[in-house]
């Protein structure tokens, strides 16, 4: 099962390779990994999306906590959370197809961030499902380039049961 882990780390040289090395050394899977500073000096937040059976996920969390530079690990799957990913993509947009591409941009509330006579560069944010739906729709026009941030996630303030 896919799990999204929020990992608070000391922001010091080598911390990324400690985490990445842990995953590669133990054969754990990383689907995406995002890292950036937090408001607190010297602390960064990593969001790691990983996949594995429950026992493997338990090991991943324990092994992460064991790293000296890891401050806190939260498994978002154990709480209600929101997650978002941003993508930039460059898609073919000829005279014939431009209108349709722009309609999709509209429906998905994307932004056009760059234009040329034959291409449009789009920015979109959303959860995994939305990003997948968008790329599926655009692929027939020809996606020339794609850059994704990987998921970032946050616990919901109100933990309401379904």
């Amino acid at each position: 099962m896919r799990h999204t882990l929020s990992v608070l780390v000391e922001n010091e040289p080598g911390v990324l390779s400690r985490v990445a090395g842990l995953f590669s050394g133990r054969g754990f899977n990383i689907e995406s990994l995002n890292v950036a500073p937090t408001l607190e000096d010297g602390v960064s937040l990593m969001t790691i999306v990983t996949d594995g059976e429950e026992l493997i996920i338990e090991q991943i969390k324990k092994q992460l906590r064991k790293l000296i530079t890891v401050i806190k690990v939260v498994d978002m799957n154990e709480v209600k959370y929101v997650d978002r990913e941003m993508i930039l993509l460059k898609v073919n947009a000829t005279e014939q197809t431009r209108a349709e591409v722009l309609r999709i941009v509209d429906i998905f509330r994307c932004k056009v961030v760059d234009v040329s006579p034959t291409e449009l560069a789009l920015e979109a944010t959303g959860d995994r499902g939305k990003i997948k739906a968008l790329t599926n729709l655009l692929v027939r026009f020809g996606i020339k380039e794609l850059a994704r941030t990987g998921s970032v996630a946050m616990r919901r303030s109100m933990q309401i049961e379904d």
Binding site: V9, E10, P13, G14, S17, R18, G21, G25, L55, E58, Q59, K62, Q63, R65, K66, I68, T69, V70, I71
Partner: protein, 563 residues
Amino acid sequence: MKLTGAQILLESMVKEGVDKIFGYPGGAVLDIYHALSDYPLQHFLVRHEQGAVHAADGFARASGRTGVALVTSGPGATNAITGIATAYMDSIPLVIFTGQVPTKLIGNDAFQEVDIVGISRSCTKHNYLVKDVKDLARTIKEAFYLARSGRPGPVLVDLPKDVVAARTEYYYPKQVSMRSYNPTYKANKRQIQKGVTLIKKAKRPLIFTGGGVIASDAHAELTRLARQLEIPVTSSMMGLGSFPGNDPLHLGMLGMHGTYVANMAVNYTDLLIAVGVRFDDRVTGKLETFAPEAKIIHIDIDPTSIRKNVSVDVPIVSDCKRALEAINEEFAPILSQEDLPRKFASWRDKIRAWEESHPLSYEDNGEVIKPQMVVEKLYEITKGEAIIATEVGQNQMWATQHFKYHKPRTLLTSGGLGTMGYGFPAAIGAQVAFPDKLVIDIAGDGSIQMNIQELTTAVCHRLPVKIIILNNCCLGMVRQWQELFYDRNYSFTCLEQMPDFVKLAEAFGAEGYRIQAKEEIDPVLRQALSSPYTAVVDVLVEQGENVYPMVPSGAGLNEMLLV
């Protein structure tokens, strides 16, 4: 007053209680070596950096103190890696200081530069590159704290040459505060009670001890628990010595080369009380059939050890000593009301029957010396009063099967990594820690050649370590596997060209002895063991002798090959 980085390093070591270090100088550590004689630190010069780390490791295992090694940059650091990985796998507290090229050259492929922090990341508990002399004292404090606290392990500190040459005000922190590191020492009370309930309900309980019992100095508490409830005890190789090996309750080692009784007991126990173990594959055999009838209580300080390989009914994350103390405390009132030992009596009878039907044995036929005999003789002569180091392979298995370890910290052996060449330098470290104790390295002819250069170290420092080579002129354990599982194709395991170990010993300035006949075993061993000098005893033993019992790789513990 301002001190140089080198002075800060040495001063801090003294403050940490270090008085003996193992090392090898080089360009990047010149400043440290220059200042060394100003401090009350005894430095043992090895002949290879791997030897330095193994010696520090042997020192730590034998004494319970933190071992320290000091090596130079580049090849000095990479040579240390095998030693560091050995200590990491066996959770041994070490601090390794490596020299590094000056900070401005880092990343430039400078002479004798390697990214040792990168290389050692996966085989250290933690590591540091100190880039500013102002961070040095705090880093050293943290390094020692990390090495010895929680689940112990090696910590590496990389010291660029300009950092140890620079000066700053020296202040050594009294305490460490790390928000991201807080090992759990105290057991959760409810988990303890759950464990106690399981033990009370059990009919066929078995205690399984590992290196964690020794690391946390919990042997007294463990012994009390086992003896007052009269529960049989088996140990992993790392756990030998955690419970008196000559106690009738001790079944010996379990696992691949464990005793018949220990493996059968695991197979039929209904409650396995696992203390300070990590269920290594050499212990469990086929996981699906491991302890098939048992509920499992697992005490370990490292949460990652729990539920890594086997599922557990009562996990207790705790220092072994504290958890066992708590369990013993719970049992005090219970035992005055219930006769639990009597309840387990028929189980003990069953165990006794297994023990009697299949004791450890070997065929003693003809003239040839059997390696097991030599180990038995060592036990007989020393009465178990010795520190035994082993190399890796058949020598290690015979040393763990046929010598009984009465006390903790008397067996030094590379359990997790299985490092050939470990035993002799580790024995040197143990002898440094205990100059007056008898320290013996039980070796094979293959392993001993991997760090034989340390004979110079031993002779030079007048360390009377004894090396007993069980010389079968082959890499015995690999040869055994080739015989049993690889069509007797002895590919590169029979060592046709063998040095004359007696002459070699003499060339190094040590004593050399040879045993070729059975009647020589007793007198020559006695002579060598009582010698005040470093001594090598070359014992010519049967080449084709195998280690039994043996659980083939991937088989269940009850599928043992016997003699």
